[in-house]
């Protein structure tokens, strides 16, 4: 059971690292306006996702 959680943890970590790496690579080529809009959308996405989990009772 514990091993499964460790593996899940590794999986999540690798996913986040991959997404982070891809985002950093793409963001380098975005214009300044594009970066600002992307930041606003990311904030909105995380905010709404947080609200969704809050409504679920997490």
């Amino acid at each position: 059971m514990k091993l499964e959680f460790i593996l899940y943890g590794f999986g999540i970590l690798f996913c986040l690292a991959g997404i982070g790496y891809l985002a950093a690579e793409y963001v380098r080529y975005l214009s300044e306006v594009g970066k600002l809009v992307a930041l606003l959308l990311t904030t909105g996405m995380l905010g709404f996702l947080g609200k969704y989990f809050q409504e679920l009772g997490w």
């Binding site: 793409y26 080529y29 975005l30 992307a38 959308l41 996405m45 995380l46 709404f48 996702l49 409504e55």
Partner: protein
């Protein structure tokens, strides 16, 4: 219903993020240079200049190497794609340099490209015009071809290959 609304909004933001990457990648000013030396056409994509500008130190950035043969003519085709909502106006100058000295003006004109339109410029460089009078086919030479357009600068290093077999003068037989 309300909790799903937040999930849909989060998904909409994610879709917006993806759309921003695609849209931002498409919008902009893109220049592609085609160089034909000999029977080879080389295409220098806008990505090349972008990558060079970020990856290398200032001293060598934005340089692309093209080789040509002794006294060969090189054809250039420069495509400028204005994928923006406003028109693009700039002066374009193409010059050849060696040791920080300007040797030749190849092109000088004004550009006016309307929004989401393309412009194509062509010119020919005769390397014989660049080579010094005392040059010999056994020697190699390097020149810099610079394209200045508005705030952009593109540099090409032109390498003139030495002849593998030196030209020999055959004496005329006398009767």
């Amino acid at each position: 219903m309300r909790k799903n609304l937040f999930l849909y909004l989060a998904l909409a933001c994610f879709a917006g993020l993806l759309a921003i990457f695609v849209f931002d990648g498409y919008i902009g000013l893109y220049d592609t240079l085609y160089v034909t030396a000999g029977e080879r056409e080389e295409r220098i994509d806008p990505d090349f200049w972008l990558r060079q500008g970020r990856a290398t130190p200032d001293a060598v950035k934005n340089a692309y190497y093209v080789s040509a043969n002794w006294k060969e003519k090189i054809r250039f085709r420069y495509e400028i794609d204005n994928r923006r909502f406003s028109s693009y106006n700039a002066d374009i100058e193409v010059t050849a340099w060696r040791s920080q000295q300007k040797l030749l003006d190849m092109l000088s004109q004004q550009l006016a490209i309307s929004a989401f339109d393309k412009e194509q410029l062509e010119w020919v460089l005769d390397t014989a015009e660049l080579l010094p009078d005392e040059s010999t086919p056994e020697q190699s030479y390097e020149y810099t071809v610079t394209i200045n357009m508005g705030e952009m600068e593109r540099n090409l290093i032109l390498y003139i290959n030495p002849s593998t077999y030196p030209l020999k003068t055959i004496p005329v037989p006398r009767d």
